[in-house]
């Protein structure tokens, strides 16, 4: 008989009161409001811990590192109480044959009922031997685990898009999960970012456990709840963009006043992520707040879109204010141009205001 999530929590010495408190925190973390807490509690009282196989291909482990930085819920509680992290070669006690045996055991016991989490990606060149696990190509392990999974979570930009090792010229032919030839036709949730935000990672997991369904995805396969807005849309420096107040060079007067970083290369206007809303490391900050332009690390192919310090586009000319209103409706590639026009319009406005002051 399988135990429920709530059973496990109770057996681990957690009181009913703490459990309910936890549920309201989880609701808050998901941005759902307190009325959802009972629903979360109910879900957790009736579900066993779901097995997770967390595979690593060509990667740098930044996704795992981000995951353990989650402030709410704590990584400890996710690992001990929410999921059963049966395979993750970064933290598992077993090695070699005893480690590999776990994948087979999990497939036998939970066929079609475990989550496959993928960090990194599979190289296809050299018959896959640019990434070897147990003497065989990683891509074989990936395909095998995918065949029997319930769903796949592609952690980070490596698994979602390819990321740095797939940047031009992609010497190993590193390939994101959904583009691996022969990969099983399973739901794939992309959680891009290099790495993704810690609390976004744990929220995606918690959402699946709580609501017993996969999150709604956008056209590119990302959870809408975290990836439907651009950094620019909710950036606290946005008023400076609109007012035409820009950092012209690092550590200038504008940098010290927290002006907009658009002119030193900020990719916030074309980057879909929750950095300016959820922020990083327990809501503490995000790149723009710490003075560096967004490099667009959650976007497909962000390594190959020119220098991080180049302005988004060289589009010149003057726009009218109406163009700026169109920004949110257009596709990412167009958005760059629209943002430039918007910026230009803001500059014009700024100059005009200056003229008035004088």
């Amino acid at each position: 008989m399988q135990e429920t999530f709530y059973d496990v929590m109770r057996r681990q010495g957690i009181t009913r009161r703490s459990f309910l408190k936890y549920c309201s925190l989880a609701a808050a973390a998901l941005g759902l409001g307190p009325s959802f807490a009972p629903q979360i509690a109910h879900a957790m009282e009736t579900k066993p811990r779901i097995p997770v196989l967390w595979l690593h291909g060509l990667e740098c482990t930044c996704c795992s590192e981000s995951f353990i930085r989650s402030a709410h819920p704590l990584a400890k509680d996710v690992i001990l109480s929410m999921i059963s992290l049966d395979y993750d070669d970064t933290i598992m006690a077993a090695a070699g044959e005893q480690a590999e045996a776990i994948i087979e055991e999990t497939i036998q016991k939970y066929d079609g009922n475990y989550i496959l989490a993928v960090e990194g990606n599979a190289p296809l060149n050299e018959d896959g031997m640019y990434c070897i696990i147990g003497g065989k190509p990683f891509v074989e392990q990936l395909r095998h685990a995918a065949d029997h999974a319930k769903a796949i979570v592609s952690w980070g930009s490596c698994a979602s898009w390819g990321c740095v090792q797939a940047a031009r010229p992609n010497p190993t032919r590193a390939t994101p999960t959904h583009m691996v030839p022969g990969i099983a036709d399973k739901p794939i949730i992309k959680v891009p970012g290099c790495p993704p935000i810690s609390e976004v990672m744990t929220a995606v997991i918690t959402y699946i456990l709580t609501f017993e369904k996969l999150p709604d995805l956008d056209r590119q396969g990302r959870p809408k709840m975290f990836y439907s807005q651009r950094i620019h849309d909710k950036c606290y420096r946005r008023p400076h963009f609109d007012a035409g107040q820009f950092v012209e060079s690092f550590d200038d007067e504008g940098a010290r006043k927290g002006y907009c970083l658009y002119k030193v290369g900020c990719k916030g206007p074309t980057t879909y992520n929750a950095c300016s809303t959820v922020r990083w490391n327990g809501g503490l900050s995000f790149p723009i707040q710490a003075g560096h332009p967004c490099i667009g690390c959650s976007e497909d192919g962000f390594w190959d879109k020119g220098s991080f310090y180049d302005r988004l586009t060289k589009v010149k000319g003057f726009g009218i204010e109406a163009d700026a209103d169109e920004v949110g409706k257009t596709a990412a590639t167009v958005v760059g141009g629209a943002a430039a026009v918007h910026a230009a319009a803001s500059i014009v406005k700024h100059v005009a205001q200056k003229g008035k002051e004088e």
Partner: protein, 598 residues
Amino acid sequence: MSVTVTPNGFNLDTSGQRVVVDPVTRIEGHMRCEVNVDENNIIRNAVSTGTMWRGLEVILKGRDPRDAWAFVQRICGVCTGTHALTSVRAVEDALNIDIPENANSIRNIMQLSLQVHDHLVHFYHLHALDWVNPVNALKADPKATSALQQSISKHAKSSPGYFRDIQTRVKKFIESGQLGPFKNGYWTNPAYKLPPEADLMAVAHYLEALDFQKDIMTVRTIFGGKDTHPNWLVGGVPCAINMDGVMAAGAPINMERLNLVKSITDRTIEFIDNVYIPDLLAIAGFYKDWMYGGGLSSQALLSYGDIPDRANDYSAANLMMPRGAIINGKLEEVHEVDLRNPDEVQEFVPHSWYNYPDEGKGLHPWDGVTEPNYELGPNTVGTKTHIRELDEGAKYSWIKAPRWRGHAMEVGPLARYVIGYMQGHEEIKDQVDGVLRHLDVPITALFSTLGRTAARGLEASWAAHKQKYFLDKLIANIKAGDTATANTDNFDPSTWPSEIKGVGFTEAPRGALGHWIKIKDTKIDNYQCVVPTTWNGSPRDNQGNIGAFEASLMNTKVERAEEPVEILRTLHSFDPCLACSTHVMSEEGEELAEVKVR
């Protein structure tokens, strides 16, 4: 004859049973290890293999050097930032850029917080399960655990009730049958020596450290905007300072932010000194008869040095982490190290999956060549895509073999501590002598798996205190009226000479790290990284010298050949980082066509 003697003094005997560990887990990246054990279960031959390759340097070719830090930072997300720092230093070296004092202090704070975080997470979450048996913790008396805790430190969480709660949580977890990360561990192996009370204390701290580690890194979120992978800047740091001017509240660094850094720094020191160090000493006390794993540590050690006290002075005298090289076991003779000297650092590939024009020779990183060449030797057991046993007489790893003046070297905290000790570095001497006294062991005890693990812990404490030193220094400098954080004089590529080159270095948590860059017409012409695990995890070289991982496994007794606890224990003591070690790639001639694309 199956016995060969390596130039660096190891007798390799391949006649015994071959034991394969793949994957080696609880490391960063992917690694394989094969050993031969004799009839007494003693390791008589060791083979260490990097099993991944990403080709980052060829990807860097033609890019903007100011962007390089972001690419190379993605070499590793565990030692996140150290590659980025090395990169901005290399570019600044090429462009002759001096950075402001505040930028130096902030970079040091970020680098030191990484040292602390990395060492702490390594000890509890990657290494501890080699020494600590969570199943045995269930037998502990919480009162005895409490007494043990209170006898070794003033850590507040020390009551019998606290340990009872932890024990209950672990018990229920194990009894659930869903063992998660502890599944298939070697929990009945006699290699585990701790009494149940110590196991329970360590398990409690495994969980506490998992909670606390995320706080340590918030320092880097404040200065770098996010962590993992904070942001850096050629010429300084991107976080401008505004203490009391208009709009200070929206500025990257203001009073509130500095207070947060101070609070985290103080709590970090407390956790390291009250939890990590006492645990380390307590656990080491139960294993001090297990003196395996010395390998190259008493023979050949290398450190580049790091943590410049004053900005822009990279001379050994200004570096707070020591620089030097020890070879041939002559500990008292510490050699100077020059990363620009073509005769010092060189990489070899006769046993690595790369081609050189002349594989008998090594190449300095500025002149490095890399062409991947995955081929297995004639004595391989298995096939190209299903390796059962490797042939170490041929090419067998995605890691190159770097050598210092022809010597295989060990790098890392132990190398830094032995070199610092021999140079008379006072803080290091005090720490090391204190531990040796506490454990009542001779200085030779340092040259072991445990010595490596102990040096890492001592360094975490040193780094936490130095983090405070640089925060105080930053505040004093701001108080003196200097708020500069970036020098952008040479930021515009149109001001650059057409051909320049530079080298940058740091001491990454795992050891000496160097990046060599050549810039031509404002773009990267060549970029080479020689990283700590390339040194430690290197395969054999042209002379047949074995690397540090391989050397450290030699002559170790394993309790059960089929349960690789001892192998993991010693490999983990280096904190292997395979993504770091196996990305190496390219030189000017390396057009993409030369990369074998099938």
